[in-house]
């Protein structure tokens, strides 16, 4: 099956810093989404981005499907950005997502 890797596994930032999270996948995908799991365990949709670039406030994402990777950019990080960031891909029709292992982000005040 498809392999989904995320890097780095852990990231500690000072408030205000910028960061880039990466998601690599081993096969062509029909769909890719980024999620943020906050410290309370809630999974928040960030981006639906099978290809191209999107921006939402301080967050933006780029997926280069032909090269099988996606990047999530966080600018001017805030303590509320802390949590685990997951990318998930859909390989076959039916949206049974395969999730990456996540990047755990800690933003310090």
């Amino acid at each position: 099956g498809i392999q989904v890797e995320q890097s780095p596994p852990d990231l500690i930032l000072q408030e205000g810093a910028n960061s880039t999270l990466r998601c690599n996948f081993s096969d062509s995908v029909n769909n890719l989404q980024w999620f943020h799991q906050n410290p309370w365990g809630q999974l928040i949709n960030l981006f639906y981005i099978p290809s191209g670039t999107k921006q939402n406030g301080r967050l933006s994402a780029t997926t280069v499907a032909t090269e099988r990777y996606s990047l999530l950019y966080i600018s001017s990080s805030q303590t509320t950005d802390s949590g685990v960031y997951f990318c998930a891909v859909e390989v076959h029709y039916g949206q049974n997502f395969v999730f990456g292992p996540g990047t755990r982000l800690s933003v310090l005040p």
Binding site: N31, I44, G94
Partner: protein, 114 residues
């Protein structure tokens, strides 16, 4: 438009007891999915409904788990009897179509089995 809603948000039960989780998908979404993240591991797919029919239940771990979606609206996931290793966060997601559409996740139910 309301998002995907899950009940309860948190449940603490003793080993051997039964727990039922509920998911209300976004109105009009025929596709409903259950996922879970246990013991800090990766989020794993459990099963997929299209309306009231189980399309794929290959991720269900064992027969202690029973999912239903009567009438093609809300879904329940019952764990009976619960074991310690069932502790984790259970997520529900829904989508309008099967392909090329965004899946929306609920806030999850944190299940703790003691």
């Amino acid at each position: 438009e309301a998002g995907v809603t899950q009940f309860p948000s948190h449940s603490v039960i003793e080993k051997g007891q039964t727990v039922t989780l509920r998911c209300d998908p976004i109105s009009g979404h025929d596709n409903l999915y259950w996922y879970r993240r246990v013991m800090g591991k990766e989020i794993k797919f459990l099963l997929h409904f299209v309306k009231e029919s189980k399309q794929d239940e290959s991720g269900m771990p064992n027969n202690r788990f029973l999912a239903e979606r009567t009438g093609g609206t809300y879904s329940t996931l019952k764990v009976q009897p619960a074991e310690l290793e069932d502790s984790g966060v259970y997520f529900c997601a829904s989508s309008r179509d099967r392909v090329y559409t965004e899946a929306f996740f609920g806030q999850g139910t944190r299940l703790t089995v003691v």
